[in-house]
Amino acid sequence: MAPPTDSSQPRLAAGCRWGGTEQDRVILFPEGAIKLQGTGRQVLEHCDGQRTFGEIIAELQKQFGQADPGKIRADISIFLEQLQKKRIVDY
């Protein structure tokens, strides 16, 4: 499978959902849970199946003003592709 494209609409895969407490938010999935903090959490909170990958990147590039926009795009793309292989994210 390919990395997300600008028109992909990333979302949590079937049977994967948020859990834990506001302080310790986790993504629950069949074989375990990942604790998400900082950037990872921010990225996944944008993945609502409505926004496109292009829109998510644009929003996050704005938020992380100082960082290299190309690097932000590349990092988020790899992050989502890895979660897709684990069947935690679909796009």
Binding site: A13, G15, G19, L28, P30, K85
Partner: protein, 377 residues
């Protein structure tokens, strides 16, 4: 204080319409009369949620044999747990599946015994294959995580490629290719189930190719069977370290097979809280950490990875739960496992009589090959 457990394994019943020859349930099964009540289980899930556990894995036996399963799933979900139903699918129809999903079921895991109907029914000792295929179609109508579990062994490994293609058609997100673990009925039937080295090597290559081909569509998990591994499995992620199993009669166990261990008694959730059992009970503390460890575990770099392997397997194979798991190549008792592996490789896998027309005929013909799992009273 040790950290709280991560997940609860709720073995809600030992009753099961299947008689799988590889079943890891104990040979002495708990009868329906000894089972926990609905209210007992609800209290268990509430306590699990309060302890911060994340997952409740419903297993058995066949969990669907409990008529209150929908209520139990609902209670676990309400307690904040991620709910996973491990099932043969027998006892499930459209309405009941819908009710379970409505109650908050997050994930369903269905086992298949083979891709070919006759062989599958032969292994299960019941005519169930066709129903499972129908059910898989029904499951995909819901936004539910779906895993297909394939238990592999000497009798079906030669068809692994076909079985993966068969599963691909059902489009689950996950496939678990589970090599038989030799406990309970599977241990009694080991000679008929333990694969040859050649079978295993071929299977490893097939799995690797399928993982590559299906990446992003189906996640395939597979673990080498411990009889062929260099090091033992980290049974339950370590004794009393991550998981708590509650059996049908309410006893809390640190491992599925723990009741085989001599001289040990296990607390019952009817009498003690989950928290007390986890923190204070002798049974959960007995093999927790490293103090109990013998050599070569005690000075081994891997002791914090595999925790000396499985205590129950050590007892079942070596007659001593205090020794290193004989599956470990460094274990003084490793010869026991080597002998079983040698015997498995001394002859080619048995040809199965799948050409017989009637199922009854099949069961009669294969009586001497293995023992079917029975059912509790």
């Amino acid at each position: 204080m040790v950290s709280n457990p991560l997940a609860l394994i709720a073995e809600v019943t030992h009753r099961c319409p299947l008689h799988c020859v590889y079943c890891s349930n104990p040979l002495e099964l708990a009868g329906a009369k000894s089972e926990l009540s609905t209210a007992d289980w609800i209290s268990v899930f509430q306590q699990a949620g309060q302890l911060g556990m994340l997952h409740a894995h419903f297993t058995g036996g066949e969990p669907l044999a409990r008529t209150d399963l929908t209520e139990l799933i609902g209670a676990a979900r309400a307690a904040g747990l991620y709910t996973n139903l491990i099932t043969s699918g027998i006892g499930l129809n459209e309405q009941r599946l819908k009710a379970l999903v409505d109650a908050g079921l997050d994930h369903i895991q269905i086992s298949f015994q083979d891709s070919r109907e006759e062989a599958a029914n032969w292994i299960a000792g019941a005519k169930t294959h066709a129903h499972k295929i129908e059910l898989a179609r029904e499951i995909r109508k819901y936004k539910l995580a779906f895993t297909v579990n394939l238990v592999v062994h000497r009798q079906n490994l030669d068809h692994l490629e076909d079985m993966i293609a068969f599963i691909e058609n059902m489009a689950p997100e996950r496939v678990e290719i589970a090599h038989t673990q030799y406990y309970g009925w599977a241990l009694a039937n080991r000679a008929a189930l333990l694969p040859t080295h050649a079978q295993l090597e071929k299977a490893v290559a097939i799995v690797a190719a399928a993982q590559d081909r299906l990446a992003g569509r189906m996640r395939i998990d597979s673990v080498v069977p411990d009889y062929y591994a260099k090091y033992p499995k980290a049974c339950m992620g370590g004794w009393g370290r991550r998981l708590m199993l509650i059996n049908p009669s309410g006893r809390a166990l640190p491992c599925h097979a723990a009741e085989v261990l001599p001289g040990m008694s296990f607390e019952n959730v009817r009498e003690k809280t989950l928290e007390w059992i986890w923190q204070e009970s002798d049974s959960f503390r007995k093999f927790r950490g490293e103090n109990w460890m013998p050599e070569p575990c005690r000075s081994c770099d891997r002791r914090s990875e595999d925790f000396g392997g499985c205590r129950c397997q050590a007892f079942l194979l070596a007659g001593d739960e205090l020794v290193t798991d004989p599956a470990c190549s460094l274990a003084p008792e490793h010869g026991i496992v080597e002998k079983a592996v040698r015997e498995a490789n001394a002859s080619a896998p048995v040809a199965r009589p799948v050409t017989s027309r009637s199922f009854v005929q099949l069961q009669l013909q294969t009586d001497d090959l293995w023992k079917y799992r029975t059912n509790p009273d």
